[in-house]
């Protein structure tokens, strides 16, 4: 129809391409600037940490600040707590969302519609509205100030369940029917036919869970009262409190350390993460 090549047929702009790319570059630098500054400052000596203009490439790079973090807080303990909590929640959510999503997509049972409605409705309920009773429930179970108290309530995931249901609905029905005619029961059909196909969807659930709970602050702040159960974000904010007006670079080194796994997940899991976020909008 038109002579436009595929690239030209994208939205054409009044700005010239170069102006547009220049503007995008400025925006990208503003977006990444605070992160770059954080890394650069964490590598400066404490005396240089207030330097202006900020040196992006430190003249005397030093890891003193990183050693300082390890002296001030028990990084290994915090990292272990964070890893334990995040990993168990991620695996737990993959299991619960995978199972429930499959049931909603492929199994027939009574109350399916109302139960699914219940799950969807809880996506709308903010955590903060329920936190006081949740705290009391956990207290009655003896789980306040334990890592388990953070982990168990996070297992059910309404969004993950919804996502996995869509995922299973997208798979051809014939596969299960063929297996059934071969004599496979409902469990075998799930285990041998559909579950292996669900891996990419489960990866989305896992990466989203990892990202959210690695960074989580509100629930740990309320639930974890003794330092030995702190997770990294809590430890960092307390690190800043301990230092007061002391060395910025030590605090920033702590920030960098806590970012590393999140960045690793960003690099490795960028695609599932993006798909998970985008599907929040597209699947409605």
């Amino acid at each position: 129809m038109s002579q436009a090549t595929p690239t030209q047929s994208r939205v054409r702009h009044s700005l010239t391409p170069w102006a547009r790319i220049a503007a995008l570059t400025v925006c990208a630098l503003l977006t990444l600037g605070p992160v770059i500054w954080t890394v650069a400052t964490s590598l400066r000596t404490p005396a240089q940490s207030f330097d202006l203009p900020p040196q992006i490439i430190p003249t005397h790079p030093t890891t003193a600040a990183y050693r300082g973090v390890f002296q001030q807080i028990d990084v290994w303990l915090l990292a272990l707590n964070s890893t334990l909590v995040t990993a168990l929640i991620a695996v737990g959510q993959m299991i619960t969302a995978g199972l429930a999503g499959y049931a909603f997509a492929r199994l027939e049972f009574r109350l399916k519609k109302p139960l699914f409605g219940l799950v969807l409705a809880t996506m709308m309920v903010p955590l903060q509205v329920t936190i006081v009773p949740v705290f009391l429930v956990l207290k009655s179970m003896g789980l306040t100030d334990t890592l388990l108290g953070l982990i168990i309530p996070a297992f059910p995931t309404a969004f993950g369940t919804f996502l996995m249901r869509q995922y299973f609905l997208g798979m051809p029905k014939d596969l299960g029917e063929a297996a059934m005619l071969d004599g496979a029961g409902p469990w075998r059909i799930f285990r041998s036919v559909y579950a292996p196909l669900a891996t990419p969807g489960l990866a989305i659930v896992g990466v989203l869970a990892f990202n959210y709970h690695w960074n989580e602050f509100f629930r740990p702040l309320i639930l974890e009262t003794s330092g030995q159960n702190y997770t990294l974000p809590l430890g960092l904010v307390s690190l800043q409190g301990n230092l007061g007006t002391g060395s910025i670079s030590v605090v920033l080194a702590g920030v960098v350390l806590s970012m590393l796994p999140a960045v690793a997940v960003f690099v490795v899991g960028q695609r599932p993460l993006r798909e998970g976020i985008t599907s929040a909008g597209v699947n409605r």
């Binding site: 990208a28 199972l99 006081v132 009391l136 029917e177 059934m180 904010v237 910025i248 993006r274």
Partner: protein, 316 residues
């Protein structure tokens, strides 16, 4: 459909083929499996969401400080919240925050998504996309720690940078007027990537032919965006604003770390009040009342939005 042609592959005697193809509700194996599969999610949601919602409503009708036995309060907690200036200010702050943060976030995300949609090398596009979505993977609490230094009045990089172009230092975190603006900036900086990703996906879903047809009819530049792109993007805009608003009404980490609600109550948000009332002052009744009010507010705003959107959202 397929069951007429199927070769004899020993159908189980108990289940004739017609039932086998569409699992029956009466099939005990299927029902049992469904119950097992749903149990963790449904039990978890009931124990940690449904019961707590009811619990919040019940608690909001009691005076309770955890130590003494609860006393029935009727509507007293609600009356207190409506006369407590801190609570009232927190609702005003949260609504102001919501309007400004969501508007700014959507505008920035939309502009960047549109700019990215133009002609450029594929690798460059993916570099930009990753850059804009990177802040989303960081923790709001630790980012706020970083921003506290950047926005420091005396030695912060932001004041140094605006000083280069001759602007006087701004008390970003310490003056009543600037503090809310700073909290919004920090929040938007971290959050705009979410709407951005939604818009990038939405723009990809718009058929190319529509723009080509418009171009043939002489539509260009801004007119094309206002007349064609935006209406086609409106379902995505609705989702981005609904999610944006629900998230904004729950803001906590940024004001907690950056300003601790201050100066005065200038940046105190509703969730900060819930946290303080419950876990600092041990007033579980009033905290629950504020929580219930926040819930009602979120429901009302979301319902209103879907109402309004019926007029503006166009589905292809």
């Amino acid at each position: 459909m397929t069951n007429t042609q199927v070769p004899a592959v020993r159908p189980r005697p108990a289940t004739p083929p017609a039932v086998a193809v569409r699992p029956s509700v009466r099939d005990r194996g299927t029902r049992l499996l469904a119950a097992l599969f749903l149990a963790p999610t449904v039990v978890g949601i009931v124990v940690f969401t449904v019961v707590p919602i009811i619990g919040s409503i019940v608690l909001s009708l009691f005076h309770w400080n955890v130590i003494d036995p609860p006393r029935f309060a009727g509507g007293a907690n609600y009356r207190t919240t409506f006369t407590d200036s801190t609570v009232l200010v927190s609702f005003r702050n949260t609504l102001l925050f919501m309007v400004l943060a969501v508007a700014l976030q959507l505008l920035i995300a939309l502009a960047l998504a549109l700019a990215l949609n133009g002609r450029m090398p594929v690798w460059l596009r993916s570099v930009f996309r990753s850059a804009f979505f990177f802040p989303l993977v960081l923790s709001a609490a630790s980012i706020s720690v970083v921003m506290k230094y950047l926005f420091n009045q005396d030695f912060g990089v932001v004041n140094w940078a605006i000083g280069l172009v001759g602007v006087a230092p701004v008390p970003w975190l310490t003056s009543e007027h600037a503090a809310m603006a700073t909290v919004i900036l920090v929040y938007v900086w971290q959050q705009f990537g979410f709407s951005f990703l939604l818009f990038v996906g939405g723009l990809n879903n718009i058929p190319k032919e529509i723009h080509e047809a418009a171009a043939l009819d002489g539509a260009t530049g801004l007119r094309k965006h206002l007349g064609i792109t935006l209406p086609l993007l409106s379902p995505t805009l609705l989702v981005a604003s609904v999610v944006g608003i629900i998230n904004a009404l729950q803001v906590f980490e940024q004001p907690y770390v950056l300003t601790d609600g201050g100066p005065g109550d200038a940046t105190r948000t509703v969730v900060m009040v819930i946290y303080e009332r419950a876990f600092e002052q041990l007033d579980f009744g009033e905290a629950s009342a504020v929580g219930v009010l926040l819930f009602v507010l979120i429901m009302a705003v979301t319902a209103l939005q879907f109402r309004l959107s019926r007029r503006f959202v166009h589905y292809q």
